[in-house]
């Protein structure tokens, strides 16, 4: 079971610990984790709150009282000096091409029309689309009141 912990911790725990450390609230006990704790979005807040209230935050030292499958699992991750910050940065991947770059002026917003109206508009456009060529001369321009008046003059 603890092997799972280890893997998980490798994926997430380091970055969590890093953040805890950088927030200045970390202590040496963090490194001796055999369980990973993920906080809610407001990481620092939670930690501060629970430290203040004295609630149990981090479980003691490595395998203190806790049963574990293999005590040597965590031997490599024990830093000796809590004052030196960890040099580990998460690996990042840079793309080698720019085909997936968004356009520079892209703004992502929520569509204001709800899905029902979107469908209605889509159907309406589909009906108009194939016969675009012919009715051009028939449609009066929108927003031009003078033109509309003259069209209305002639009976339909």
């Amino acid at each position: 079971m603890l092997r799972c912990f280890a893997d998980y911790r490798h994926l997430r725990g380091e970055s969590v610990c890093e953040r805890l450390r950088s927030s200045g609230l970390a202590s040496s006990r963090i490194w001796n984790l055999d369980l990973v704790f993920i906080w809610a979005p407001h990481l620092d807040l939670d930690l501060a709150a629970s430290e203040k209230s004295g609630a149990f935050v981090i479980m003691g030292s490595v395998l203190g009282d806790w049963p574990s499958y293999d005590p040597h699992n965590f031997s490599q991750l024990r830093p000796s000096d809590p004052s030196t910050p960890s040099k580990m940065t998460p690996t990042t991947y840079q793309p080698t091409h720019n085909r997936t770059l968004p356009p520079p002026d892209q703004v992502i917003t929520t569509e204001t029309k709800n899905i029902l109206l979107r469908h209605i508009y889509q159907r309406a456009e589909e009906k108009l689309r194939p016969k675009r060529a012919a009715p051009e001369h028939l449609l009066p321009e929108h927003g031009c009141k003078q033109l509309r008046a003259s069209v209305q003059d002639t009976p339909c």
Binding site: M1, C4, F5, Y8, L35, V36, F37, I38, W39, A40, D46, S50, A55, F56, W66, P67, K113, N114, I115, L116, L117, H119, I120, Y121, R123, A124, K127, L128, K131, A133, A134, P135, L138, L139, H142, K145, A149, Q152, D153, P155, C156
Partner: protein, 575 residues
């Protein structure tokens, strides 16, 4: 906390399952493989459910649904029969559960109660055995009267079926009207065949203290007030359909409590259309200036003047023009071949031209702040109850661009498909009231969808089925109760006897059963209207109506005979 954590951790270790523990703000969440789930069987016991709620977050997006499952445990199972209550007409609970709206028997006063709960104490060992003390079994134990306001003057009556609630500001909209005149002459742009009411007043009240904030008067007009049919509230926008003058008045309810005119769609689409047409009247030579003066009347007291077009006008303006041109263009665009096009026009458009001209607006609803769904039909069907035999059409109208976006007949499969897939978007609600998203409809509930499917499979004619389904569009505003007891995924009940819609129903002597949908699928509670021993007189027809509190396990059932006898009110609540 440490001990609990340690103990549960050990327990899990010993069971040998593979999980990982996550701490989430001091609580512990369990997740994991199939063997883990076997542990976490779903108990119907309320304590077990509460414990599980502490230790487990629901799947994403289902937190409200999981919370509503507690309504399987808290049920209004206890009934107090024939409560002595004041002889009012009980209208409904407001959707936030803060007020109970009642009208006096003479339809002239509004009485508002606040729902409270019983408070009495029992000092003995086993209190469940004891019945409620007699003084607890009164109407006053459950409601406190806030105020009684007189809305209608001498010859007016409050329309008892009309009530709209604006939750964000706690405003209520009520309507009073004078008597209906059926054979009103069609003067001043009114259409023939629609009755006239001398004065309709809409009152906007602040429900906290009963102060009338604003009023809106319509003179010699007709608005269909029954069950909120002619008025639609969306957020802070009101759409009032004046059937007689064929205008949709859009009003805004401001936070200060004022009813402000936004626009009036009908004869004119944009706000300055009237000015433009009037200024060009001499050049058109159609409208006589003297006639114009006769026709201009003040219909709306807040100062908005509208001149009514005489029926002799040679051109169609406003929304009718938009509609006709949309139909024309639609038919024109179907074909590129000119002769075929003209043929289609003759067949589909000019042949029915008079019918299209005669169409009137029946009903309107908002689809969002800029779009209206308008139902058009013939004059005969406007006020009649059964609209099945009358042809009807639906149009989607954009108020900002004044365009008709779509036009369907009432047996259009396309519109039915949209209705079937996106039913919830037709039940448009304001952004503020989240609970309204959980009213069971066939778009958000599998049981309702199965019912719809079975109806569709049983239907003999698909176009009749589509017509029947689309007859419910446009929907009535605030017509459905948000009570979780009507949630189809929680309970199964007889839809003919009781449902979320607040209509009067035929009353039976048998209690109405609410059966759980989920296993163990047992009967959870019964609602029995009428006196406890059943009705003595079985010959008179009785109708019953039910008022469910939006979130408390509390309901009122009111049984009345058709004559003006006092009604029997039962209180159903969780003891």
């Amino acid at each position: 906390m440490l001990q609990n954590v340690h103990a549960s951790y050990l327990m899990l270790c010993y069971l040998g399952s593979i999980f990982y523990l996550l701490v989430f703000r001091g609580n512990i969440i369990l997740g994991g493989g199939a063997s883990a789930r076997a542990l976490m069987f779903r108990s119907n016991n309320i304590v077990a459910r509460i414990f599980e709620r502490q230790i487990r977050t629901p799947p994403p997006g289902t937190s409200v649904h999981c919370a509503r499952r507690f309504y399987e445990n808290l049920v209004p199972s206890y009934t107090i029969y024939d409560v002595e209550c004041p002889d009012h007409l009980f209208r409904k609970f407001t959707d936030d559960g803060q007020y109970l709206i009642c009208f006096s028997r003479n339809h002239q006063e509004l009485i508002v109660y606040r729902p409270t709960w019983l408070s009495f104490s029992c000092t003995e060992e086993d209190c469940d055995v004891h019945d409620l003390p007699p003084k607890a079994k009164k109407f006053d134990s459950f409601f406190t009267q806030l105020y009684c306001v007189s809305l209608a003057s001498s010859n007016e009556l409050i329309c008892k079926d009309f009530f709209l609630y604006m939750e964000s500001n706690r405003f209520g909209l009520f309507a009073t009207s004078t008597a209906q005149i059926h054979d009103a002459p069609a003067v001043g742009g009114a259409i023939q065949g629609v009755p006239s009411i001398e004065k309709i007043t809409f009152h906007l009240l602040r429900l906290e203290d009963g102060v009338v904030l604003d009023e809106k008067v319509f003179n010699d007009d007709f608005v269909n007030l029954a069950h909120n049919m002619g008025v639609f509230l969306y957020d802070d926008l009101l759409a009032i359909v004046s059937l007689r003058y064929q205008t949709v008045h859009i009003l805004q309810i401001r936070d200060s409590g004022n009813l402000v005119d936004v626009r009036a769609i009908g004869a004119f689409c944009r706000e300055d259309d009237e000015l433009f047409l009037n200024s060009n009247a001499p050049s058109m030579g159609i409208r006589d200036k003297s006639k114009q003066h006769q026709l201009t009347e003040n219909h709306v007291e807040n100062g908005l003047q509208q001149s009514r077009l005489s029926p002799e006008n040679a051109f169609v303006s406003g929304i009718k023009q938009r509609l006709l041109s949309f139909i024309f263009r639609g038919i024109w665009n179907e074909e590129t071949n000119h002769t075929l096009r003209v043929q289609y026009l003759k067949k589909k458009f000019y042949f029915h031209f008079q019918d299209y001209i005669d169409l009137i607006i029946w009903k309107v609803q908002f689809l969002d702040r800029h779009h209206l769904l308008i139902k058009f039909g013939s004059v005969d069907g406007a006020v009649s109850r059964t609209t099945d035999h009358h042809p009807a059409f639906f149009a989607v109208y954009n108020m900002e661009t004044t365009d008709i976006v779509a036009f369907y007949q009432n047996n259009a499969d396309e519109l039915y498909l949209l209705f079937e897939h996106f039913c919830d978007h037709f039940h448009t609600t304001s952004k503020n009231s989240l609970y309204m998203n959980f009213i069971s409809s066939h778009s958000n509930n599998i049981h309702t969808r199965e019912q719809l499917r079975s109806l569709r499979n049983k239907a003999t004619s698909s176009s009749q089925f589509v017509k029947k389904m689309l007859a419910s569009l446009p929907i009535n505003s605030q017509a459905l109760s948000p009570s979780p007891y009507f949630d189809q995924s929680l309970y199964r009940f007889d839809e003919k006897l009781i449902s979320a819609a607040d209509r009067h129903r035929q009353s039976t002597d048998h209690p109405i059963k609410f059966i759980l949908r989920r296993p163990p699928q047992t009967l959870r509670f019964k609602i029995k209207p009428g006196p406890e021993g059943g009705n003595i007189d079985n010959r008179t027809k009785k109708i019953s109506s039910f008022l469910f509190h939006p979130f408390l396990p509390f309901a009122l059932s009111i049984q009345q005979t058709l004559f003006l006898q006092p009604s029997a009110v039962n209180v159903h609540f969780r003891r």
